[in-house]
Each structure stands twice: as C-alpha cells, then as structure tokens.
C-alpha cells in the first residue's frame, strides 16, 4: 500500500483554521462500521424470513454478503484515495460532479437518520417489552437515546467511538456466547433445525420469496460503508480504512451466519419473521435466564452503538462547520437531531428500516458506476491509491446486478414508496441543477492534487 492523498475540512474562526482531529485508528473504524451494522443481527434481518421463509433468509444472508463484500472492496479503494470527511459525498464530488455529490449527501443523511430512528425505536420497544408495565410507552426512551447520543457526538469523536468500540464488542461477544451455549455441533438437544426448517416450509413462497427477502437481507450489513466517513479523522487512512472495513465485513459475515443458525434452529419461521427481538427471543428459548438477560442487554447495546455511529456519519455526510473546541461537526449534529426525533415518533420500525434500505440501495447503485468512472478517469498508475481492489470490474458488476434485484424486491413490498422517494430525488435534483448550482464556486469543488481526469 502507498500513502493516500488527503484533504482536510477546515473552518476559519477569528482567523484561525480549525479542522477535525486525526485521532482514530483501525479499531475505531471497525467500531464505527460494525457498531452501525450489528443491530441488524438483533432485529431486521429476520423480516427476510417473513418475506420468503427461513431458508430464504439464509440465501440472502450469503448473496447480500456478496453485495456488501463488493461495497467494501470498492469503498476501500476509493476512500483510501479520496481521504476526506463526507465519504461517498467527497468521492462523488471529485469523480462524478456536484449534482451527484448533492444527491449522495441526501442518500447518506436519509440512510443514517432513518437507521438511527430504527435503533431508537428498537431500544424503546425493547425496554417497554422487558418492563411489562401497563401504560409505559417508548417515547421517553426514544427521545433520551437520540438526545444523549447527539450530545456525545457533539463533545468529541474519540470518546464517541471509544464508547462504540466497547459496547459493540460486548454485543458481538454475546452472539458468540449464545452460539457456543446451545451446542451448535449437536442437533436435537437445544437446536432443532431439521424439525423447524423442513422441505415443506423452507421456501413457502418459492423463489419469488427469496427475491422479496433481499429487501430485508440488506439489513444484515447496512451501514458498513459508513467506515468511510471517518476518513478525515483516522491517523492513517490508507491503512486504517481498508483494514477496518474488511475486518468489519468478515466480523459481520460470521455474526450473520451464527445468528441465522441459532434463531432458525430455535423458532418457527412464521414467528421468526415477525418478532422484533430474534436474538433476545433465542436467549429466552434456551431456558437460561443468564442468556436471556445477556441478549436483552446486548440488544440495547447494539441499538445504542448503531444510533451513535449513525449520528456520527450523518453529520459528516451533511458537512458543516467544525466546533472550535470539540472539533466536531456540531451544526450538522444539531441539524439532523430534530429530523430524527420527528420521524422516531411518526414512523414504525418496519417503515423506518425500509426508508433506510431504500436510500442505501440508491447509494450502492451510484457506487457501482462511480468505481468504473474512477478507474476510467484515473487509470491505475496515474495517481497514488491507498488500496487497489482486485478483480475489477467484477465487484462493480456484481454490485450493480444485486442492486437491481434489490430494487425489484423493494417493489414487491414497498413499490409506491420507492417511486415516491425517487420522484423526490428527481425534483430536488432539478432544483439543484437549475437553481442552486449557480451559487456553487466551480473550481473549489475539486480539491485533490490529482492530474486532469482522462477525457476531460
């Protein structure tokens, strides 16, 4: 690997240039990526079983794993080269153009804010379910989660991601403990996969159900690309970003496989497909109070870690002034806060997850085209790359094809919503291109010290 070229987001306050702090290492990158995603094992992935059966949930776990491996490979190359806060926003600005960057920023803010909303709803619902108190609602827990985590993010990135590392690690270890506690090598004692997933019910809707399951299969890994948002705050982007992202992806593939195996072996697919707490339920069904309580706490920690990481990433995608003391993107954090609070109270978990997935898939479609343009405009050898991903263009083609399948899957469940959101992006793009763009300083949009792109 060679050193990446870096740019910095700075704010000038009273004549002093204030920038984000370079204080993060690979462990923080891992904590950011896995922290955002791991909640998907605690809720969300199991709705894939509802859409297509237990076996469909496993098939999409693998195929969507391939989609995200492509995302991680592509992202590692582009981000370790365009090492700037904003992640895919900064990539779009330098490779495709200002309008695309504007859209990508919206994809990111939508995806992360709705994911944060889902996390807060899950946390509130989990506490209410555990308390079992008549009349207790999740509202105060949701509001407290969003506000406290926004405050933590406001105060500093190092503490934010240190917290994320610890709570993500605890949540992850709880899945490993559950897995080894149920004697996974023996069927019949605790796990009863053969009796719960039978030839008659493995794919209750046939292959159309497998395709439909892609929608929630995304939830196994949604947000791993968020590691790129730390690009401007890691000490060595060329090393930390690819290592952190790839390690995160491997971690998640293992967690997803363990989660599916334990849950599908402990509960019928019809129940697995509708429960909001598959791992907590799995803990209950083992009959061990220790495992039940461990998985309850882990569900809360996973939701907290994810919401925490989402606030971090949404703020970097929105991009604004740096706080003079805490060196955080404080205005962005405050801007996104009311939006998250508002949707936490009007959307339910299923819908918030779908909003997030929709924006994520639009973003992955962009990434598959973006890497092709990146390689064409700056072929290998023309600029220094932090990391060069192998097998190009295969990951881009795989990613693009799987995005198309996922759009079809979303159509099968939320077609009207997909059309409404695309129309929104279309209209807002027209507004930007024909009105807002006139206020943009052209030359300032390209800050990398690269040669002129080929073909321009």
């Amino acid at each position: 690997m060679t050193a990446a070229v870096e740019t910095e987001l700075t704010t000038t306050i009273h004549g002093d240039r204030v920038s984000l702090l370079r204080v993060l290492g690979p462990a923080h990158v891992w904590a950011l990526g896995v922290g955002i995603v791991l909640v998907g094992e605690f809720t969300g992935w199991n709705f894939a079983a509802d859409k297509g059966g237990a076996l469909a949930a496993l098939i999409v776990c693998w195929i969507v794993g391939l989609l995200y491996t492509s995302v991680a490979m592509i992202d590692s190359e582009v981000t370790s080269t365009v090492a700037a806060a904003g992640g895919q926003y900064a990539q779009a600005k330098h490779i495709v153009g200002p309008l695309m960057a504007f859209n990508v920023a919206l994809f990111l803010v939508f995806a992360y804010t709705m994911l944060e909303v889902s996390d807060a709803i899950l946390l509130g619902d989990t506490i209410v379910a555990k308390a079992g108190v008549e009349g207790l609602t999740h509202n105060s827990f949701i509001a407290a989660t969003i506000v406290v985590l926004a405050w933590l993010n406001y105060r500093g990135v190092l503490m934010t991601l240190n917290v994320n590392f610890v709570i993500t690690a605890i949540a992850y270890v709880s899945i490993v403990i559950l897995f080894f506690s149920v004697s996974p090598w023996t069927q019949g004692a605790v796990l009863k996969l053969n009796e719960l997933v039978t030839p008659a019910n493995a794919l209750p809707y046939g292959w159309i159900g497998v395709i439909a399951a892609f929608q929630f299969g995304i939830w196994y890994y949604l947000g791993i690309e968020g590691t790129t948002q730390a690009a401007e705050e890691v000490r060595s982007p060329a090393r930390s970003l690819p290592y952190g992202t790839m390690a995160g992806m491997i971690t998640l593939l293992i967690a997803a496989a363990m989660t599916w195996y334990v849950c599908a072996s402990l509960m019928p697919w019809e129940y697995l497909g509708i429960t909001y707490y598959p791992l907590w339920d799995a803990g209950k069904l083992t009959g061990s109070p220790l495992l039940e309580n461990l998985l309850f706490i882990a569900t809360l920690l996973a939701a907290l870690a994810s919401a925490n990481g989402c606030i971090n990433d949404a703020a970097r995608a929105w991009f604004s002034a740096v706080h003079p003391k805490y060196r955080t993107l404080y205005r962005s954090i405050l801007f996104v806060l009311p939006m998250a609070l508002a949707f936490a109270f009007i959307a339910d978990l299923n819908q918030a997850i779908t909003f997030s997935i929709l924006s994520g898939v639009l973003q992955y479609t962009f990434m598959s085209i973006n890497i092709m343009m990146f390689r064409k405009k700056w072929p290998l050898g023309s600029i220094r790359r932090g990391y060069t991903h192998p097998f190009h263009p295969l990951p881009a083609i795989v990613l693009f094809c799987l995005c198309m399948v996922t759009f079809f899957a979303i159509f099968l469940g939320f077609g009207s919503q997909l059309i409404a959101m695309t129309v929104f992006y279309f209209l807002i793009s027209l507004w930007f291109h024909f009105y807002r763009y006139k206020f943009v300083r052209r030359g300032d949009q390209f800050s990398m010290p690269w040669p002129r792109p080929q073909g321009y």
């Binding site: 200002p98 439909a212 949009q445």
Partner: protein, 125 residues
C-alpha cells in the same frame, strides 16, 4: 476560461433554501406514510379448524409456540398472515422508467457541471 464568480446570496435566501430541502425531505418520507402507501400486500388466509396440525405445525413447532405463550387460536393470525406476491406490471414499468430517468438525468447533468469544475480547476495547466 474566466473564473466563475457566483452571485452573493443573502442570509435569508440561504435559510429559505435550507428550509426547502428540509421540507422536501419531510414530505418525501411522511407522505407515503400518510397516504397509507407504505407496507406490503399481506393478508390473513383464515382457517376454520384452528389446530396446530391444521396450521401446519409439527410437534416441535407447536411446543415452541406454546413456550412463547401462544395457542393455536392466538397463533392463527400470525401463521396465516401471508404475502401474496402479484407483479403489478404497470407499477413495475412506472418504477423502472422513473428510476432510469432519474439516474440518466443525474449522470448527464452532473457531467455538465463536472466539466465546468474541471475546466476552471485546470485552466492554467
């Protein structure tokens, strides 16, 4: 190529533009919820005989349902609540056209803007 100097925008104008984006985000997310367009086509296929056997549950499944606190009567609406995947071709075609049109516009308009950025950035080189 001469350097493009954007017009100065007033503070009020900037706040108005931010408000437009925020309102548009809210409308895009909230409207489908309000109009009841969110959610998949799922409905209950009712059964007369509400037994574990009729619900297609073997002894192991039935014991787990009972451990979770369900009876055949209370589990009926969960087990029989099924998706009915019907491809609505006109909606699918509209969705495909909207998506393709959006991405084509996005890349073409971005490319026009990008050429201006590159020309100004590299004008002296």
């Amino acid at each position: 190529m001469s350097r493009y100097v954007p017009p100065e925008q007033s503070k009020a104008g900037q706040i108005f533009d931010i408000a437009i984006v925020v309102v548009a985000i809210f409308v895009a997310l909230w409207l489908p919820l309000k109009l009841g367009l969110a959610g998949a086509a799922k409905s209950i296929d009712p059964l007369d005989a509400k037994t574990w056997d009729a619900l297609g549950q073997n002894a192991t499944m039935a014991s787990i349902w009972e451990k979770l606190g369900y009876t055949p009567e209370t589990a009926h609406d969960i087990i029989q609540n099924r998706f009915h995947y019907i491809i609505d071709w006109p909606t699918l075609i509209i969705m495909a056209v909207v998506l393709v049109a959006y991405f084509v516009f996005l890349f073409r308009a971005s490319d026009r803007e990008y050429r201006e950025v590159i020309n100004e950035k590299f004008e002296d080189k």
